[in-house]
Each structure stands twice: as structure tokens, then as C-alpha cells.
Symmetry: C2
Subunit: 568 residues, 2 copies
Amino acid sequence: MKMMSDGELEQASLSQLQKFCEELRGEIFRTVSARGGHLASNLGVVELTVALHRMFCFPQDKIVFDVGHQCYTHKLLSGRAEQFCTLRSRGGISGFPKRSESEYDCYETGHAGTAVSAALGIAKARDLKGEDFSVIALVGDGSFNNGLIYEALNSLNILNTRILIILNDNGMSISPTVGSTHEILDELKSGNAPRGDVALFERYGLKYIGICNGNDLSELLPALKNAKEALRTQSVLLHVTTRKGQGYAFCEQQPDRTHGISPECRGVEYSEALGEELTALAAKDRRIVAVTAAMTDSLGLRPFFQAYPERSFDVGICEEHACVLSAALAAGGMHPYYAIYSTFLQRAYDEVIHDVCGQNLPVTFCIDRAGITGADGETHQGIFDLSYLSPIPNLTIAIPANIAEFRAMLRLSADYSAPLAIRYPREGKEGNCDGVEIGKFNILHCNISDIIVYAAGERCIRLARDLLAQAASYGITFTIVNARFLKPVDTEFILSRPEHYVITIEDNVVIGGLGDAVARVLRGSGRVVRCFGCKDTFLPHGSVRELADEFGPSGAEILSYLQVCHAR
Amino acid sequence: MKMMSDGELEQASLSQLQKFCEELRGEIFRTVSARGGHLASNLGVVELTVALHRMFCFPQDKIVFDVGHQCYTHKLLSGRAEQFCTLRSRGGISGFPKRSESEYDCYETGHAGTAVSAALGIAKARDLKGEDFSVIALVGDGSFNNGLIYEALNSLNILNTRILIILNDNGMSISPTVGSTHEILDELKSGNAPRGDVALFERYGLKYIGICNGNDLSELLPALKNAKEALRTQSVLLHVTTRKGQGYAFCEQQPDRTHGISPECRGVEYSEALGEELTALAAKDRRIVAVTAAMTDSLGLRPFFQAYPERSFDVGICEEHACVLSAALAAGGMHPYYAIYSTFLQRAYDEVIHDVCGQNLPVTFCIDRAGITGADGETHQGIFDLSYLSPIPNLTIAIPANIAEFRAMLRLSADYSAPLAIRYPREGKEGNCDGVEIGKFNILHCNISDIIVYAAGERCIRLARDLLAQAASYGITFTIVNARFLKPVDTEFILSRPEHYVITIEDNVVIGGLGDAVARVLRGSGRVVRCFGCKDTFLPHGSVRELADEFGPSGAEILSYLQVCHAR
């Protein structure tokens, strides 16, 4: 499609702009259909982004996209239309804002709730340097549940600067937005809001401008002009409603299922097993409750939520609160399962330490999307969890070898009375499991040689098995161990093994993970330990396979090391 | 002093209660004067706690103390008066709520903002189990800046349960409370609040009751009765004003300086050096700004804040926002120094990864109170930071050997254009420093032997030196290296050393710290590495020396290991 230049955007008539928006929408739809990506969120903000590019002067003016999963139109309008077809592919355009990609991307996001803080920092730096430009934070209503936003709003007056917050209200997180903030926004939208609701924003020092239909340029352009004018003297909140998935009926009707589209054909999802097992366990154990931060479906919790609504808690995008709530439910005698993506658990790190493990409470963390996750890039890889969880006292860390073992671990967890973390990837194979015992490894392939391989998690075990087949042609063999507990690590087993060469493979950075744990046990033993895992860098977007080959534990490297061991 | 029984408390006249409060105040003052502890915060809530114990039935009813530094009266009233003289000493009464200490302590706290989430979890567990008791969260206004509170308030309606939140408004965090929330509370106190301010709380589903003088039992008792009545049908926020340090003029006048009292005679504080150096650096470099989450004085930032108010940002108890703000200030071209205690940095872990290191921005983290911190116990030890920071790409981690080296690192940081963490204890010696180079160790004592000791940080280096003196009497000697960079670790140096026995000493849990980093470099080298650090457990309260002996890297253990090495 033909892009409009900045000058054309400024001169275009309303109907020309509307037509342009439809073309952009088609471009986004085609590309996401082919490449995967965030569909509904991007379809919703086409008009809003076009209007912003008409009214403001980027990259001199700055825009921070909260979460960042709605920046496609911005990318198309900022010189990246030609490369847009490479969206989310290795070496192509990222699905999130990237400073290295364009000067139009001033701040990188991926996790919710950072945009207001970020806009404030950029605006304050501008003031200190005596510069003059506008700073905009585009924030969805889902993020208005997140505590970080309130920390930022509270400091608006302290920082004494000016920013424009655009509240993009579509009534959704990935799941529908929940809680009181949502209710306040709904009343504002109804036009029947008590004065106090507007005052909520005004007390933070914001001029409130609303409501405006963000999918209608005839409302949007004057509202933005108004906001830009007001921004000269104070910070402004422009309340815009948009429809997630706008323009495509099946997206509008299923905004949660079309939030993210994945083009890859997939295996079985671990999340399905979570939903099944947890629902079954809850039938026998009334203490079991499920907690999520706005990801019921993605985590597989829907069957549980339907079967046990009174024991199901979606608290919105509030990873920290969800964690403290879980700790307190446990202190009150329940057994909470807090399901969350690996990368988002970072947000609740202090609460994992301080509230759950510090009090040694029986919370089970179900950590999904662990390891290399692929196309969402740097902010969504789950490659740090083994490292940041390992140093926490009282915490048991389990890594299932397949879905059957994951099920066994969940069944075991029901009677476990201390903090337990189970980390697993998105997809895998059902496989088999003969039972699990806390802290015990098991041998998958026993071969007599001087080499033993400890692998954690399904992908790494598959890699080890592939290597076993390949190595056979060099006359090399080794034993493969399923290192299914990182903590407590199976010290007795490790020390009992006679092999001189010890290899570890993990889907996590090598610093502080399984390799370090095994090596710690073997210190002073004279064994030679070599650890393979993810490189010490932020992993960009690409397919899981591409990223694993380039940044993960490398089959080629391990194979050549096996040959070195064999030759000695 | 003689405690009142529950029955006596209930029967006592107002004047008897007032007299009792004065006695409690005296008891707290005497004990804190001798043992150290939180003075002003505890003096402020004596009447409030007495009134709560009169009106509610503990431990059947539950109370969660936010932060927990105001629970002394509660401890005195719940069967711990006799042991109270052991406050904060090893084996004695903790300065914070402890479940293991009493059934009156239902939930443990130490970090700000968790109490509402915790109360909600306990109340929800109660409902699910069909039990009947009251759940109270006692929260200071300082914590009302923290985002976690808003995440919890947002979910009040979702959770559909009942709790009583007592907002203890004394206008203070450790520093005076800042920001818009504080202004709203001030207007409520003035009696001139616009209706919208009360609506703020009501929209969350809370019945707002206020204002009530929390140091005046004649106001407090009827207000609490009122609140208890209302709690039968809905959640309630009771807004109480108290005076921090009430009853002691010098505390009332200096609530920030009497917030925490330390009885130990101390050396030089690292925080002083931070204030001096940063103020000096800022004179030459206009990009330098300082950021803190409500700890200006404790971190030594006062001189900087006085010299450069426009470049100084205290955003209240908002560790996450402070971190994103720092990242964005850096994205805007400034050089932020984010000073924070080690234990509180856990709260901003995701933002350290996602915002600062993910974008490779020049934020310098000044991490105070690292290592064993002593009398505040489990929730305040700084023994995890080396482990949780190590796996983060792009981050440089420095550990000064003394204050002079800390100064040198700060000077070096001014021109450093990537994320840098400097972690240091509260106090130490000025010492000497001949200059610092990123990623380079230096030898402190060079002795020809087969043993080399890598020590990180002042306390561990002192321990190594003490051991060198002691070991001499056994004819043992060794080289001592100042391992002043954990990341990048000095690979070249480590590999160049000929010693067979390698010992590491660190003031951090051994899992994932310096020892693992050195051992990682030496894998396959045939060297024998042995690591000494803190045990894999939460460290209780006690003096730094007692805790170090019992849980830290143990001089006795290292000495006996040295003898083993020597004998081989």
C-alpha cells in the first residue's frame, strides 16, 4: 500500500484519512495473518495513531506505547512500511517499540504500566535540558489496574513537568478489564459519572478531557487539538474509547482470542494440562484456589474458573498484588496456584521472596512460557527464572520433562506444604511419567561411558536425545538424566555418578541456573563440568528454533565438545 | 510495667487507658533506647493499638501491620511484655510481626504496601472456609503512595469480601510523604475536602470514616466502634491522624531522624560518601540526577538534594516507578543515580531488567545496606542482590573494598554509559584506593602458596585478612584478591593464577553469587574451588556480628578448610 508522507497526512481530508485508515488496517491484518502478532489491539488504534501523527511532529515529539503491542500503525507511519512484512521474524521488524530500529521509537516496552513513568522521565529530562517538545503516553485501560501507573500519577506534581496521557479505553486487558477502576471508567463513558470520578484524575494534576470515540476521526482530531492546546500549561489525560479488533467482525467479537495470533502450528499446550489437572484436583481438595493477573485463557485456567468461580481470582494486570493475595490466602489455610508467564513473574519478585518464601507458605507457582518464547522478543523471553528463583530459601523448583510429568508434579503439589515453582514452556508432548519425587532426578538413557548429560525441561531433553543419536555415528555415547528439580538439586544422585565429564543443558541463561547448581555439588570432586544454556544477552524476536540455534544451548557446540571429551 | 489483661482493657475507664498508654510509651522508649528499633512510628500508634485491642478480639480477629515497624504495642499487649526487653536481639523478640513468635501475628511484613492485599487474602480464605472474624489492615499514609495498595483496592469488588483498612496518617514515610495522594489526604484532614476525595475511596467499595485523632482515645474509641459496626456489611476505611513520635518532643520534632534508632556505635557510613561524591560530580556534570523512593536521608542524599533540588527526585515509597523514571531520564539524556537499599531493590527487579538493562541505559544503582544488615531481621537483609543481579545482561556489578574505593567507583561511574550497580554495606572504613578499572580485580596481599582467596566487599576482605593472621600460626599463607567486580568478572586474572586451591568469600547467599562466578571461569581447569557465603535460609534478627558468625561466611569453617588444603 502507499503510505502518506507527513505533509500528505497533514493536508488530507477527513474522507481521505478514513480511507487511509482502512488501508492500514488491511495491511496490518494481512501481515499479522501471515506472521502472527498482536491483532485486535493494533486494529483498535489505527485512527488514533493516524490522528497522533497528523497532530504531532514525530520523532521530535515523543510517544511511549504502554505494553507496546499496539505500535504497528506507528511503525507503518514512521518509515518502516516496506519492512513491515518481516514483522516478528528474525532480523525483521519487532512487534514492540525498539530504539535500535527507529528514532521514532523513543522508549521500549513489553510489560504493562511503565508508560506514564517513562513519559515523565523523558519530559523531565527535556525540561532540564531546556528543550521543547511534547511527550505522550498511550496507555490501555487494562494498565490502569497496574500499581505502577498510580505511583507515576502520584508523582506528577512532584516532578512538575507536562505530559499527555492518552487513556485508550477498550474495556480489555488480554482478558476483559476487571475491578473498580474499570467501573469508574465505565461510568465516565456512560456520561453519568459522579463529579468525583473526573476529580480522581484532576487531583493528580491532570486536566481530564473526554470522552471521545477513538475510532472516529471526526471526534478524535478536535479532541487531540484540544489536548495539545491544554498541554502547553499542564499535564492532560485524554480519555478515548476504542474498539479492540475494530473493522473485523470476528476480532471485535473475540478480542481476547484475537489479542495475539500465532502462525505456527503447535503441539499440545502445557496450559491445557494445567486447566485439566487443577480442576480435577480442586474437586477433591477445597483448599485449592487459582490466581491470575489478567491471563485466564492464555494460562489455561478457563475450565477451573468455570467450575469453581468462587475459588478463582483474576485481579487484573497486578502481578504483585496477585502474589501477596496468594500468600495471604495460604496464610489463611488455602492452597493457591498462582499461574503466570515467566517474564511477568519478575514483576512480583519481591513478593515471592518477602511474602511467600519468607513465610514458607504453600503457594504453587505455575510458571508458563519459560525458556525461549520466540517472536515477541526481548521483553517476553522466559530465560531468567531459574537464576532469580534459585537463591530464594524455602523454594522448591521443578522443571517437568513433558506434559505427563507436569501433571504428576501438579498432583504432587496438592499435598506439598511449602512454596513450589513449576516452570514449563508453552508447548510440548504428552509423553510418559512413572512418578515424581521431590528433589529426585531420573535417568532417561543409561549408557556406559565417561560422559553424563543433565538436561532440564522438554526442549533440552529433546536436544540431548538428538545429540545421542548424532553422537552414535562418532562412536560416542552418554547417559541422559532428567534434571527435573533445580532446588533441591539431587545432590546424592550427582555425587553417586562415576562419569568424569558432566554436561548440563538448560533453557535459561547459564549464569545462576542448572549448570551452576550441578557444578556446585561437584566442586572438589575433580569432575569436569561444562554448562550449556542461553547466552548472556537479551534475546531478540525470531522463531523459537532460530533463537535456540543462535542464542540457546547449541547442539553443534555440544556435539563438538562431546568429541573433545571422547578424544581425551 | 504491669500489662492489662483483655478483660481489664475492656473494663478500664478512659483515664485508666490514657495512663496505661503513657506507661506503654515509656516501656517502648526505654527498650528502644537500649536495643534500638523503630521509635517514632511506634510512639505514634500506642493509643490506636490499645483501642484496637479493646474493640477487637485478637488473635481470633486478625491484624496485618503494613511495613510492620509499628507493632511494638501490639507485641506488649499480646503476651510478649516480659520478653520485650530482648527486642531485636538474637533469639529475642523481633522488631516486626513474626508468625513463629505468636499467634497474634498472622502475617509477616517488612516492605511497604502489602497489608491491604494480605488482609484481603486472609478475609477471602475466611469466607471460603465459612469462618467469622474481623480482618484489619493498619496502613501508614506513606504506603498509600505505593502502587501495590491501588492494585489491592482495585480488586476489593472483585474479591467480594470485607476488611477494615485503618489509614494511619502521620504525614510521613521515613521522609515526609510526598505527592498527590498526600495532598488529597491533607485536604481530607483540613475538613475542606471536595466531595471527590472521599469518593476516591468509596468508588473502591470502601465506606470512608474520618477524620479521627488517633492519639485521642475519646475520639478513637467511638470511631472504631462505628467502623466495626459498618464492617458487618462492607469494607471500611477509617482515616486516623496520628503524630509520629507522640509524647516525646524530640521525636515529634524530628520524626525522620527518630524513625529508626540504632544503639551500636558505628564507623563511617557509605551513605555519607555517596552524598559527598555525587554532589561534587554533579557540579561538573549537568546530566547527573538523583532518584530515591522516600529514603533521602538514610541514603545520604541530603547534601545532593540541597545543592541540586531541581535534579533531585524523591517519589515516595515507589521503588518501581523510581526505577522506570530513572530509565526514562537516562533515555532522555540524563545520568540518573538511583539509590536504594538492597532488599528494596527486589521490588524493582522487573524494571531493572526490562527498563534499564533491556535498553542498556546509563543508570547507576547505588545499593546500600547490602549483605547482612542485622537487627531488622529477615525482611531487611541484603543477601540476595549479587544472585539476582548476576543473570541480567548488560549490567556491570561492582563491590567496593572500602569507602575510598566506593568513591573511586562513583567517579568512574560518571563517564560510564551502561547500567552499573554498586553494592555496599551500611558502614565501613575510609581506607585507600589506587584507582579502579571496570572488570579488574586487584591483589591485596600477595603470598606464595597454593591457596588464593577472592573476597568481595569490606566485611569479607576484613575476614580474609583476619584469617591470614590466624593461619600464619599454622604455617599457612595465601594470596588475597579484592574481587571488586562480580560482572564482568575478571576472567583473565582468574585464569592467570597458578594456585590450586581457590576460596571465595562473599556477604551474599552462596547460590548464584561470586563463588559461582569464579567457579564458572575455572571449570575444566582442575582447580579446586570452595565458596563461603551466607547460608540458604532467611536470616533472622540479631547483631551483624552474631548473624555473620552463625549464618555468614564463617571464619572458623574457612580456617579449618585452609588447614585441609595445606595438609594435602
